[in-house]
Amino acid sequence: MQGILKKISQINFGLLSPENIRKMSVTKIVTPDTYDEDGYPIEAGLMDPRLGVIDPGLRCRSCGSKGGDCQGHFGHINLARPVIHVGFADTIHKILRSTCSSCGRVLLTESEIIDYKDKLDAKYKNEESITALIKEIYTVARRDKCPHCDEEQEEVKIDKPVSIVEGNYKLTSSEVRERLEKIEEDDYILIGINPVVAKPEWMVLTVLPVPPVTVRPSITLETGERSEDDLTHKLVDILRINQRLKENMEAGAPQLIVEDLWELLQYHVTTYFDNEASGVPPARHRSGRPLKTLAQRLKGKEGRFRSNLSGKRVNFSARTVISPDPNISINEVGVPEMIAREVTVPVYVTDWNIEDMRKHIENGPKIHPGANYVIRPDDRKIRVYEETKDSILEKLEPGYVVERHLMDGDIVLFNRQPSLHRMSMMAHEVKVLPYKTFRLNLCVCPPYNADFDGDEMNMHVFQTEESRAEAKSLMRVQEHILSPRFGGPIIGGIHDHISGAYLLTREGSVFEEDHVLQMLKKARLPLPKRKNEGWTGKEVFSLLLPDDLNMVYRAEICRKCDECLRQDCKNDAYVVIEDGQLKTGAIDEKAYGAFSGKILDSIVKDYGTDKAREFLDSATKLAISGIMKRGFTTSTADEEIPREAKDRIEELLSMAELKVEQLIDAYHNDELEALPGRSLRETLEMKIMQVLGEARDKSGEIAESYFGMDNHAVIMALTGARGSMLNLTQIAACVGQQSVRGGRIERGYSKRTLPHFKEGELGAKASGFVHSSYKKGLDPLEFFFHAMGGREGLVDTAIRTAQSGYMQRRLVNALQDLSVQPDGTVRDNRGIVIQSKYGEDGVDPAKSDYGKVADIDRMIEEMRIKSKAAK
């Protein structure tokens, strides 16, 4: 576990020379076979034992270490003829085009050479990218005549993937290599090659390194059959052709045959490196599946870089379905006992905890607060079994490490994908609970964007003391109540928390003292002194507020009347809190809901996160016990409106439909006046949409006028708990216009939307206006149009998630290296200043008041109150 931690300071990239390849090779590979009949690897074959071992127990013939410890050794294949490396084909082409075919110098004049060398030196010194400059050289150095030896240059073309054609003659790889060898070392830098690490001729391979078996392990199937890795298959192909080519050359076969074989060798080497190179048919497995060769292993989302290096699979993690638990704190997470027994926390045994640790070991791996492993001071890991328990207990002493079960109070990391922002991974305290799901408080649903329709979440257990400390102070849920996106709360009450608080605190809600005490007890709040009379809900809620809290705001239920009656608001929407007492106004989403909770916001900012967590925990519990005292339910009865309302709506809608007909008539008779910059047809569409939109809104208003605050659905909509007035009026009155592509529905059948209509019909019904309400039910035509609109919505969402996901990946990739420096500047990892002061004022949005340093107006008011009090 311990050892010297070495820091890697840099990685140098370079090209392998043929000599280097031979030097690092442990064996020359010649035989295209892998195993003999007895199942032993063939010497000088692709599975040569000197290339390393995979099976544990065997020892490596090259380094002597055991399987697992030996990381493998390279071999090599001597190619009978040189072969171009696909990845460099483009570069080779550009180099040949920019160098003289006879003297090998770059086709630049002496003065250009000096000029470009200076520029390149400067770029190298500043570690800037030289790509643009090299590109420029490639274009400038495309001359017809060599400035050095006056030789006429023929045009060099590339025939994808790897054929280089000069004039009409196809250069062989050997000739290409000769050309590259001719280039002087002084010119390397001009053609984009660093002479320290590479030579142009190394881009044409004469010897091929064979990766160790650890890179291409063979799998033994259940049938006992061996199945080789794709790379091994490819290497077999290369060896086979190489062998044939060599034999044919030695036998003095005709030129034609040698060339054919040479080309075949080139093909196999090409696909060995990249099986998706343009211009080559991909090499296939016997089953027809394209082989996964070197480039494919690295590339893309499932490639080595993105799926194994940037992200890794980890131990000490768990995943299961989530379900709600209103009784635990927002800081906690309920962990099933089954998981708690599996994932462990390493604890260093000391004199002070040895007794505790003994108990854990005594419990063993099967009884909950137990232990699974013990690590001895000599780093040996011992599994705790029922049988070995006693011997371990005997030896246990300070210095040992016990991997004990997860227990209440441990800090774990909790995460739900997609992890779109930092609140998608927060630290929770463990609470071990029965059953098999993770339990979380409902207030943390918004940041995770979680619901309980089958969502799963992941949990990770910290393994070091530093990580635990860091997580506890930086990643705990309570530290993330405020979102850095806009400086307001993102964690807060939802759904029943909101409607519950409203029912509790609205005007006229009075409870008997016994009931109040029951509610408070249920919410696990300290009980106040009895006062032997009824309590108003506002008094009950005030028990949660800090004593010196003062604020005034308009609640979510505010109807935005033309003239505000302030404290005398009929809707009880003007909230006044004086010295921690809720004087007027009802509590709703604006008070402590996620995204907009004002009271919550000011408690976090003025009293700290501990107080905020306490407030949120107890406020939600109180709201729930309040709503349970009273009872709360909804059904379609809530959207019932009287006959006369239905008649009025019906009349309104037929009026609107008539108006649409009139508009259409006007359009046909050319009486319609076009809006500026619009065609007549567009004008008609806009006017119809407007008329129908108004009709829908008005029908909604009629329905709304019959809804009162005794209606549970309305309470939910107006307090911001769930749903909207639009939802309700669509159920009760009229669904309204369905749209596809932002306009009325136009297409579908020949010259009309459905065969039920006349050709070219433009009326409301024919273009997707849904006249019925959801409650009444849609007729078949309306249903069809509704489904069209609904489908568009689904397609839209699917495309949007893909697009915004990619945008976010690009944004994060572009900005991830930025950080604030001690001097207040924002710099990237090269030290380049991006901002001389973060955000122009150095304020952290997560600590700001909705982007501002502070609410100055409130500050002034508070100051004045204080100074008045002082007088």
């Binding site: 820091k7 890697i8 300071s9 840099q10 990685i11 140098n12 990239f13 090209l15 460099f88 570690e127 984009g192 090659i193 320290v196 690490v197 990249d274 690295l298 893309g300 490639g303 870089f305 290096l309 940037s310 779109l420 922002h421 930092r422 850095p484 996106r485 806009f486 400086g487 910059g677 932002g742 949007r800 915004s804 945008m807 976010q808 994060v812 572009a814 900005l815 991830q816 290296d817 930025l818 950080s819 604030v820 990892n829 380049i832 991006i834 901002q835 955000g839 004022d841 304020v843 952290d844 949005p845 600590k847 982007g851 501002k852 340093v853 502070a854 100055i856 500050m859 002034i860 100051m863």
Partner: protein, 384 residues
């Protein structure tokens, strides 16, 4: 209370406030009629708040900014919506527009301008209409009264509507001169014109005539390059022109145009005409208003950082493999983003060195990342 006074108080209290905060304090003290003493204690309070709200060193502001801009993307609409300001113009909004901005596209899908006028001109409807007609694209077809193609005589007679000409504030003489210049075989008789096609025997005569008819109707008689439709609207007591298409350089040269408020949504054009700082502000403004229009609040500081990153080297770079991510210093960072093979192969012949200073490189090799708590180290004094 004026800014000077606030500035002096701030200085006296040794507070290092940014300009925007001083302005805010000045406005607030005006609103509340603060006395000097009150102002002093207010500045004290704000100083405390300002220190509390400061960013911490090593904070991963880039990642937070990227997440804050990217996360709301999932909640945005995809559709191109009508009206941004005026009902008559289509403007790309929502996620497609945001992607367009971070991509720094050269050709945006719906370029549009808002042209404001200097004082004295803005209320003059007649003047604004005249300018609008100079800017907007007008073709001959827009001012015709009668258009008749006579196949028997192989010519066409055209009548220009003088009322329309007047309505559009154009000059008939100028139009006629343009027509004469554009067509060879034309007879002009006041507002009556007669065109004849050049008939050669090898071509179909009727087809020629029809082509000519289209050509005549599409003859542009007025307008600025790249600008199509224009819409005039009244916004808070002054007339404003909104256009389809954009040409900031040409419009700014016109008489009466307010050079400080007139703007376009084409970021590259702003960069070309007004420079990189203006382009940065344009990115911030466009991104911010795209978000706001969708009802999403994102702190400006995040958008600022994105804009600053895009413009930090003096030209507008896109976010992605052709811009910022493609120019990173680290080979591993580039290879792990996109075009893995290309970057590795190029690094090998260039002999590139990866100094492993970035985030992704350190994750790849399994070391702590140089951000936040990982950005500090301990230097121990050797005891000698």
């Amino acid at each position: 209370m004026d800014i000077k006074k606030v500035t002096s108080v701030v200085k006296k209290k040794k507070a290092d406030f940014p300009e925007s905060l001083i302005h805010e304090i000045a406005e607030a003290s005006e609103r509340h009629n603060l006395k000097v003493k009150e102002l002093e204690s207010l500045v004290d309070e704000i100083k405390k708040a300002y220190e509390r709200a400061g960013v911490e060193n090593g904070e991963a502001v880039g990642t937070v900014a990227a997440q804050s801009v990217g996360e709301p993307g999932t909640q945005m609409t995809m559709r191109t919506f009508h009206y941004a300001g005026v009902a008559e113009l289509n403007v790309t909004l929502g996620l497609p527009r945001l992607i367009e901005i971070v991509d720094a596209r050269k050709k945006i899908s719906t370029p549009t301008m808002a042209i404001y006028f200097e004082e004295g001109y803005g209320n003059d409807e007649e003047f604004v209409r005249k300018i609008a007609n100079q800017i907007g694209k007008i073709v001959l077809n827009d001012i015709l009264k009668d258009f008749h193609v006579n196949y028997a005589e192989m010519n066409m007679s055209v009548e220009i509507d003088e009322e329309k000409v007047e309505d559009k504030r154009l000059e008939l003489d100028v139009i006629l001169a343009k027509i004469e210049k554009a067509f060879k075989r034309v007879e002009i008789n006041n507002n009556l014109l007669s065109f004849e096609p050049t008939i050669s025997e090898s071509k179909h005569a009727i087809r020629e005539l029809r082509l000519l008819a289209d050509k005549v109707r599409d003859l542009q008689i007025s307008g600025v390059k790249n600008i199509g439709k224009v819409v005039i609207s009244k916004e808070e007591l002054e007339w404003v022109i909104h256009t389809e298409g954009s040409n900031l350089g040409a419009v700014l040269k016109m008489e009466g145009v307010d050079k400080t408020r007139t703007t376009t949504n084409d970021i590259h054009e702003i960069e070309k005409v007004l420079g990189i700082e203006a382009a940065r502000n344009a990115i911030i403004h466009e991104a911010q208003s795209t978000m706001e229009e969708q009802g999403l609040t994102v702190d400006v500081r995040h958008i600022m950082l994105v804009a600053d990153m895009m413009t930090s080297d003096g030209s507008v770079k896109s976010i992605g493999r052709h811009g910022i991510s493609g120019e990173k210093a680290s080979v591993l960072a580039r290879a792990s983003f996109e075009e893995t093979g290309k970057h590795l192969l190029r690094a090998s012949i260039r002999g590139e060195i990866d100094h492993l200073t970035g985030i992704i490189e350190n994750i790849i090799i399994g070391q702590p990342i140089p951000l936040g708590t990982g950005s500090v180290g301990v230097i121990m004094k050797s005891r000698d």
